[in-house]
């Protein structure tokens, strides 16, 4: 059962990205990407630096507006769909207040009634293993704890889709492991995951589907098992073989 069904909210998935382009100063950075993200998947966006992975995430999440094409959420306008999504960034942006207060803030912005906030905050902290640090100032937590708090804050909103932009790029292996475990739990609760990474090992561990980008174009969109064993394009094969690609 997905998060949406549990809460009795209309589902916003699948997400359809239709011929989306994004230009800055006359340079085309995202070039006509079309794809569909199905509910319940764990889609990993792969590609070399500058392929447009982060841009694609921001376009899907609505932080950027496409120069052409459209991002279509099933049955809802972009504004209502936004409330069913959350995003975690490479560098967690935490407010200068306690760990618990960071989550409370996000809930109050979303209009969650006061009496429900306390329970949701406690649950989210518990899930992330941060309960003992609830009253600690968020900004003095370690890098790994900060990223887990960012994930807990995102999950507290019970998003149908969670976008993650290189969430472990700045973390050491043990903190990365903790974040991946947390991601597993969040996915199990019914949240669809869309995440960028440049770490192939991580992609193999997490992906159910892979979107492979190169120079702003979508080269391959395949189930992970297929992508990692039989890449269909020369670029993907080269990328998987660890050859430099630009």
């Amino acid at each position: 059962m997905s998060t949406a069904e549990q809460a009795g909210r209309p589902t916003i998935l699948p997400l359809v990205v239709e011929k989306v382009c994004f230009d800055i100063g006359g340079t085309r950075l995202i070039d006509g990407i079309t794809c569909t993200i199905a509910p319940g998947t764990r889609t990993i966006v792969l590609g070399p630096n500058g392929a447009g992975k982060s841009l694609l995430l921001r376009l899907c999440h609505g932080l950027l507006q496409p120069s052409a094409g459209q991002v279509i959420w099933a049955g809802s306008a972009a504004q209502t769909a936004r409330r069913q999504q959350a995003m975690v960034f490479q560098r967690p942006v935490l407010l200068r207040r306690s760990a618990a207060a960071n989550i409370t803030y996000a809930l109050s912005v979303r209009g969650v009634p006061r009496r429900e906030r306390k329970r949701l905050v406690a649950e989210a902290l518990e899930l992330a293993g941060l309960s003992p640090l609830a009253q600690r100032a968020a900004r003095v937590l370690s890098g790994g704890e900060q990223q887990r708090l960012a994930l807990a804050r995102a999950w507290a909103l019970r998003p149908q889709v969670l976008f993650l932009d290189e969430p472990t790029a700045n973390l050491d292996p043990s903190a990365t492991h903790a974040v991946e475990t947390l991601l597993d739990r969040i996915h199990q609760s019914g949240t669809t995951i869309v995440m960028t990474t440049h770490d192939l090992g991580q992609a193999r561990r997490l992906a159910s589907d892979v979107l492979f980008l190169h120079r702003g174009r979508l080269i391959e969109h395949a189930p992970a098992a297929v992508f990692f064993t039989k890449p269909q394009s020369a670029e993907a094969a080269a990328f998987l073989a660890g050859r430099l690609l630009w």
């Binding site: 921001r58 999440h61 932080l63 936004r82 409330r83 999504q85 959350a86 995003m87 960034f89 942006v93 407010l95 200068r96 207040r97 803030y105 996000a106 912005v109 979303r110 100032a137 968020a138 900004r139 003095v140 909103l157």
Partner: protein, 234 residues
């Protein structure tokens, strides 16, 4: 230069004697400047933050203007307010000329651009870091301003201190709109100006020393507050 050697002794003697005139002058200085800074913070903080967050046409010009206003000459502000508040002026009915209220208004006019401009810089930096996360959470511009001000509170103390420094040290505006009337509108800086012109250099210097100590004390207190907050909230 006898004045230089006499001044510290005179300053200490004045302080120890708790001279009634001195206490009144120091008290009024603090009351006027603290009120002006409080008022300027109430106006300047939201304005500075709003300019930092809202993208509107002509924004760069507004920022430039705000920065320029930081250097507003006190005598010009004093003169302008004098014209507005004088009996024949448009606000003459209020009867505010030569009152402490007029002095508060004058210092507020001087300090508001300082607080607003420094707030704009602080909040703009913070906004750059927070913008995507706040938009992702669905935070609207009005709420974002409140959040950014609160998260910038440690740095904003500096902006308010800069404003206080300007207010308490300023003489040109308060002497014009206050008139330096004994026991009514006489503050430290106007007294120093008066005593200097009367030739009481040692007394003027002693008052100057007290003024500096006062400013230092306020800054140290604010700095301690700032460090405590930084320690607690990262």
């Amino acid at each position: 230069m006898d004045e230089f050697s006499a001044a510290p002794r005179l300053a200490i003697a004045l302080l120890l004697s708790l001279d009634r005139d001195l206490v009144a002058i120091v008290g009024l200085s603090l009351a006027v400047s603290l009120s002006a800074v409080a008022l300027a913070a109430i106006i300047g903080l939201p304005i500075g933050a709003a300019i930092a967050v809202w993208r509107f046409p002509g924004r760069a010009a507004v920022v430039a203007l705000l920065n320029a206003l930081m250097g507003l000459p006190p005598v010009v502000v004093g003169l302008a307010l004098y014209l507005l508040l004088s009996r024949a002026g448009p606000l003459g009915e209020l009867g505010l000329l030569f009152t402490p209220t007029a002095m508060v208004i004058a210092q507020c006019v001087l300090v508001t651009p300082i607080i607003a401009a420094l707030t704009q810089q602080t909040v703009a930096d913070l906004h750059e870091e927070y913008d995507e996360q706040l938009r992702s959470l669905g935070v609207g511009p009005a709420r974002a301003i409140g959040t950014l001000l609160w998260d910038g509170r440690v740095s904003l103390v500096t902006a308010i201190l800069a404003g206080f420094g300007r207010a308490i040290a300023e003489v040109g505006a308060v002497i014009i709109v206050g008139g330096n009337i004994n026991r009514v509108t006489r503050v430290m800086t106007t007294t120093i100006a008066l005593e200097t012109s009367k030739g009481n250099l040692a007394l003027a210097l002693a008052l100057g020393l007290i003024l500096i100590v006062l400013v230092l004390a306020v800054n140290i207190a604010a700095l301690m507050l700032r460090n405590a907050a930084k320690h607690a909230m990262g």
